[in-house]
C-alpha cells in the first residue's frame, strides 16, 4: 500500500534515537512482524529516495479529542545517522509523510511451545518488539538479549518487560547490564529447542548465525541494506545467498526475499 500518514508523536528516547508514531490504514493491522515500511521524508529531491524502517509496533489508539474513533497506527524506531533521519527527527505531530507498507517477508513465528530467543543490537530492537508482542499473544516464553556500545543504545527495554519478556542486556563499555558483547551472554543461555530471531549490525548477526549453526538452533535474521525501490525492482539491495560463488552467483533481494531470512540461507563472513 502507498498512503499518506500523519505524525502522531516523535520522541527522542536517548541521544539520537527516536520513536515515531504515525497514523495508518486499518489494513496495516494484518502486517507481519519483521515487515518494513519505506518513508518519504520530504517532497524535495534531496534526500531523493525513501528510507526503509522495520515496523516497531502496529496497533490502534483513540486520540483524546471529542468524537474520535479508534485509529490504526504504526511506529518506527530510528537513529539519526544522515540527512534523511535528521529531517525525520524534526517532524512534529500533524506533519504528513508518505509511506509504502507493509513490505517484504516477515518472521516465521515457528511452532508453539519452543522457547523464543530475540537478539537485538541498537535499532535492531525495532522489529523484535512487534515480534515479541505477537509471540506473547500466542502465550510463548520469550527472552530478549539486547546489546549496544553503551547504555544509550539500549532502547525500550521496559516495553519488552511490560510484555513479560525476560531481558538480558550487555554493553561494550559496561554502562548497562553485563560488560561485553551480547552474543557472549546469549551463548551461555543457548539450548536446543530454542528458536532465535535476530536483528542488528551485520557483525552481530554474523556471530549469531554461526552460533546458531554450532548449537543447531534454528535462527532467523532481519537484514538491513541500502534500498531504492523496496519492491524488488531495482535489485540494489541484494546480498549473497548461502551457495553464492563467482561462478554460480546467488543474490537475494533484501526488500523482497527478506528482510527476514533463515540464517542458513545467507552467506556469512
Amino acid at each position: 500500500m502507498q498512503f499518506k500518514s500523519m505524525v502522531v508523536s516523535n520522541v527522542e528516547l536517548s541521544p539520537n534515537y527516536f520513536r515515531m508514531r504515525m497514523t495508518a490504514p486499518q489494513e496495516l493491522l494484518a502486517s507481519a512482524p519483521g515487515q518494513f515500511l519505506m518513508l518519504k521524508v520530504t517532497d524535495a529531491i534531496d534526500p531523493l529516495l525513501r528510507r526503509p524502517f522495520g515496523l516497531f509496533d502496529v496497533g490502534t489508539f483513540t486520540a483524546e479529542y471529542a468524537g474520535c474513533g479508534a485509529q490504526t497506527y504504526c511506529e518506527i524506531l530510528y537513529k539519526v545517522v544522515g540527512k534523511g533521519t535528521k529531517l525525520l527527527a524534526a517532524l512534529h505531530h500533524g506533519d504528513v509523510v508518505d509511506l509504502l507498507a507493509p513490505l517484504g517477508r516477515g518472521f516465521d513465528l515457528g511452532p508453539a511451545g519452543e522457547e523464543k530467543v530475540l537478539v537485538g543490537g541498537g535499532v535492531g530492537l525495532a522489529p523484535l518488539y512487534y515480534l515479541a508482542k505477537a509471540l506473547v499473544e500466542r502465550g510463548e516464553k520469550v527472552r530478549l538479549f539486547a546489546g549496544g556500545r553503551n547504555r544509550d543504545d539500549i532502547l525500550c527495554i521496559t516495553e519488552f518487560e511490560r510484555l513479560g519478556v525476560e531481558t538480558y542486556v550487555a554493553t561494550d563499555d559496561g554502562t548497562l547490564g553485563e560488560s561485553g558483547f551480547v552474543t557472549q551472554v546469549l551463548e551461555r543461555h543457548l539450548n536446543k529447542g530454542m528458536r532465535i530471531f535476530a536483528c542488528g549490525p551485520t557483525p552481530m548477526l554474523d556471530a549469531v548465525a554461526k552460533m546458531s549453526a554450532r548449537h543447531e538452533v534454528p535462527c532467523q535474521v532481519s537484514m538491513e541494506a541500502y534500498m531504492a525501490c523496496g519492491v524488488g525492482a531495482c535489485l540494489g539491495c541484494v546480498m549473497k545467498g548461502a551457495n553464492h560463488t563467482e561462478a554460480t552467483p546467488d543474490y537475494r533481494c533484501v526488500c523482497k526475499d527478506g528482510p527476514v531470512f533463515d540464517s542458513f540461507d545467507l552467506q556469512w563472513s
Partner: protein
C-alpha cells in the same frame, strides 16, 4: 472541452499516452501492479535482458547523491528464455505495449537475443541497450564507438521485424554523431539518455562507496543534460525520440516533448513513488486541459528558441 488526445505513436507502437517506464527501474512489470494501473501508462520496458541469466555486480550497488542516485547493478536479469517463459505470459494479459530491452556481451549475442523475440506475440518492440556503463563487455563499448554501434544496430535489424529503438549513452563527446550513426544503420527510434557515469567516495573509509567503483547517475540531477541532448538530436535526426533523464512530474515530461521527444521514459521516479508513471501521465493531461491544448502530440518539438 473534450479531454485532450494524449495518444502518441513511436515507430508504429501506438500508446495511450507518452509515458513509458524505463528499463531497469520497473522490474518485469508485475512488481508495480499493486501501486498503479499498468493499463494507464503508455508502454512498459522490461529490465535489460541477455542471452543467459546474469548475476550482476557485487554490493554495495546503489548510493544516493544530491538530487540523484548512482547504481552499479550490472544488468542482473533472468535471461531471455526465462523472461519469455515466466514473465511474458503475465504481461500479455495487460493491455499496454511491452517493449523488451536487450543487450549482448558480444555482437552475436545481440543478434541472438533479438532473434529469439522475433515473431513473439506480446512484444510490441525492442529497445537495444548499447549504453550501460556498468558492464565491462557489451553495453557501453558499443555505445561510444559509432562504428561498433552501427554493427550492432545493423545485425539486430536483420534479426527482427519488430520496431527497434536504440538507447543512447550520454557518455560521449558528441551524442549527435552517435544518433546519426544509429539512424543510418536502421534504428526506428532513439531513446536518450542512459545514466551518466559517476562516482561517490566514503571519506571515513577513504574508499569508493560502490563495489564497482563507478556507477550510473540518474534522477533529477541529470535532467538538464538529458534535455540538452534530446534537443540537439531532435534537430539533427528525423527519427522519433524518447526522452529520459530525471523526469519526476508532468511538467518535466512536457519539457522533453517540447525539446523534440515523442514520448518519455520515467525511471528513478518510480523508485521513490511507485505510482509515478501514472501520476505523471495525469499531470501532463491536466497541463493540456489548463492550457486548452487538444493534443499532446502538438507539443512535440514545439520549443521556440
Amino acid at each position: 472541452m473534450q479531454r485532450p488526445d494524449m495518444s502518441v505513436a513511436v515507430a508504429g507502437i501506438k500508446m495511450r499516452n507518452p509515458v513509458m517506464t524505463a528499463s531497469g527501474t520497473f522490474g518485469y512489470g508485475a512488481e508495480f501492479a499493486d501501486y498503479l494501473d499498468l493499463e494507464s501508462i503508455g508502454a512498459m520496458i522490461s529490465k535489460g535482458l541477455s542471452l543467459k541469466p546474469k548475476a550482476g555486480n557485487p554490493t554495495p550497488r546503489i548510493v544516493e547523491t544530491p538530487g540523484g542516485m548512482l547504481n552499479a547493478i550490472g544488468l542482473q536479469n533472468v535471461g531471455i528464455d526465462a523472461f519469455i517463459e515466466q514473465k511474458l505470459p503475465y504481461l500479455k494479459n495487460v493491455n499496454t505495449p511491452v517493449i523488451v530491452n536487450l543487450y549482448g556481451n558480444t555482437l552475436e549475442e545481440y543478434g541472438e537475443v533479438a532473434a529469439r523475440l522475433d515473431g513473439l506475440s506480446g512484444v510490441a518492440g525492442i529497445e537495444v541497450n548499447i549504453s550501460c556503463p556498468n558492464v565491462k563487455q557489451g553495453g557501453i563499448v558499443f555505445g561510444t564507438d559509432p562504428g561498433a554501434a552501427q554493427e550492432v544496430v545493423r545485425l539486430v535489424k536483420k534479426n527482427t521485424s519488430k520496431p527497434m529503438i536504440v538507447k543512447l549513452s550520454p557518455n560521449v563527446t558528441d551524442v549527435v554523431l552517435m544518433a546519426k550513426a544509429c539512424a543510418d544503420a536502421g534504428a526506428d527510434a532513439l531513446s536518450l539518455i542512459n545514466t551518466l557515469t559517476g562516482m561517490a567516495i566514503d571519506l571515513e573509509r577513504r574508499r569508493p562507496v560502490l563495489a564497482n567503483v563507478t556507477g550510473g547517475l540518474s534522477g533529477p540531477a541529470i535532467k538538464p543534460v538529458a534535455l540538452r541532448m534530446v534537443w540537439q538530436v531532435a534537430r539533427a535526426v528525423k527519427l522519433p525520440l524518447i526522452g529520459i533523464g530525471g523526469i519526476m512530474n508532468g511538467r518535466d515530461a512536457l519539457e522533453f516533448m517540447l525539446a523534440g521527444a515523442t514520448a518519455v521514459q520515467v525511471g528513478t521516479a518510480s523508485f521513490l513513488d511507485p505510482s509515478a508513471a501514472q501520476r505523471i501521465a495525469g499531470e501532463m493531461e491536466q497541463y493540456l486541459v489548463d492550457h486548452k491544448i487538444d493534443s499532446v502530440s502538438s507539443l512535440i518539438g514545439a520549443l521556440e528558441v
